[in-house]
Amino acid sequence: MLEVHVDGWLREFGPKSKEQVAADSVAHLIDVLETRYPRLRFKVRDETGQLRRYVRVFVDGVDVSGTTGVGTPLTGARTIDILHSIAGG
């Protein structure tokens, strides 16, 4: 079971605290979260299924957003952080 944390702004649409999720990939994990929290749909991913530009997903502390992205396998992973990146002005 994965322990998922989302950051403050995303809590408007998703889990308010730590969430336990069973998933075998980042895409699968987001599918599960979107089923539990429908307002998350299209906030973390756009309609092509890719992570939005300023969303960061960390698997056990490693940022996978710019590398394997939603296809990242989660076998053996323990913690997931979904954050918005530092951007804007």
Binding site: R39, F42, K43, E47, T48, R52, Y54, V55, A87, G88
Partner: protein, 378 residues
């Protein structure tokens, strides 16, 4: 929602939505509900068919675009359905030039314009989006259908973006006939449909595209904004990258009117209900994209006398001001109120068709759009 007699200026900014409340005298203003803090609001519009209902095109840099509606003049907002980029089977895909066999999947980047339907279609909304997409709702935004005839237009392969992206930013409806629609896309031009959006024809004859080898193509012009004359739905005023134009025949041909101004670049234009035959532009310096005069100025076009008039005394408001495509609006009172929002957050108001001007005493974030919710019964 009970009717009330307040006039509201709806201001979409780079950092949120502001509803500015006043009355028919249009001399004092109160900045009312502020919403969508930190989000880019490309357009806010009132639905005159349903007093109290506002729609906002909300573009969040992190979480993407949403359509939102207020049922109480902007006090609270709720996310309603947001259209999605049509699936590949429904729309000719954007082609990947380096690998044409693999189409580029493109999500909707930004929402640009929401247009409530005409009075005879009380549940219709239209929505323009980037990349070059038009949507229609028949249930007040509970669901959206892509307008495939435009979104799959055979000319699409040649459509290029403007500096603001491949946006569909202008939607005009003929108040006499729900079958007649007009749209403006950058940098593509204007199109007209006479059959309820089943087919579309480019309508850019006479409009110069100074940035293309062929200066007068069928499409490729960078239209910035178009409005209809309030008294004559067949007459349109157009601010294009390539100048200021008028059409008297449903956009069949365009006549350039801006040349007496020297450079006739700009983004916005408005035509108030009580001043038929007049349009108001803010001419900008094409390079600096500000008024560039050292002071604020608005130009009035009189279509009957075919003359221009500058409305402000030089140096009345010193500075250099940028105005975007949705940045000029007019109310439907007599005398007309004219409203101009700037990219540096000033909101200018003339309550008397341009004779006098004052600033709403509030510094807004950069203003993307200004529109008016007219008082009930006006």
């Amino acid at each position: 929602m009970p009717k009330d007699n307040r006039l509201r200026i709806l201001v979409g900014t780079r950092k949120g939505t502001y509803v500015v409340e006043g009355d028919t005298r249009r001399k004092t203003w109160k900045v009312g509900p502020v919403s969508h803090e930190g989000e880019e609001i490309y357009h806010v519009v009132a639905d005159p068919r349903h007093p109290g209902d506002l729609y906002a095109a909300v573009n969040n840099g992190f979480w993407g675009p949403t359509v939102q509606r207020s049922k109480n003049w902007g006090k609270t907002w709720k996310e309603i359905a947001t259209p999605l980029a049509p699936a590949k089977k429904d729309r000719k895909p954007e082609m990947n030039e380096s690998d044409p066999a693999t189409p580029v999947k493109r999500p909707i980047n930004n929402l640009w314009h929401i247009e409530p339907g005409i009075a005879s279609e009380p549940k219709t909304l239209y929505l323009g989006a980037d990349p070059h997409l038009l949507f229609r709702s028949s249930d007040l935004g509970a669901s959206w259908e892509p307008v495939d005839s435009l979104n799959n237009h055979p000319g699409r392969k040649d459509w290029a973006p403007g500096f603001g992206g491949p946006c569909l930013h202008t939607i005009l409806l003929d108040p006499r006939d729900a079958r007649r629609l007009y749209v403006g896309l950058s940098a593509v031009g204007t199109f007209r449909s006479d059959d309820g959006g089943q087919s579309w024809t480019p309508k850019n004859k006479g409009v110069e595209a100074p940035f293309l080898p062929n200066k007068y193509p069928e499409t490729g012009q960078c239209v910035h904004h178009v409005v209809a004359d309030a008294a004559d739905p067949d007459t349109f005023y157009r601010q294009d990258h390539g100048g200021m134009y008028v059409s008297h025949d449903r956009m069949e041909k365009w006549v350039r009117i801006g040349k007496p101004l020297g450079e006739d670049f700009g983004f916005g234009v408005a035509s108030p209900a009580s001043t038929p035959g007049k349009a108001y532009f803010v001419r900008l310096d094409g390079k600096g994209r500000t008024t560039g005069l050292g002071y604020f100025q608005v130009q009035e076009w009189n279509d009957k006398t075919r003359t221009w008039r500058k409305l402000l005394a030089p140096k009345a408001f010193p500075g250099d001001f940028g105005v975007q495509r949705e940045g000029i609006a007019a109310d439907n009172l007599d005398p007309a109120g004219i409203y101009v929002g700037t990219t540096t957050g000033q909101l200018f108001v003339s309550p008397d068709a341009g004779k006098t001007w004052r600033l709403v005493p509030y510094q807004f974030p950069a203003i993307h759009s200004v529109s008016i919710a007219n008082p009930a019964g006006s």
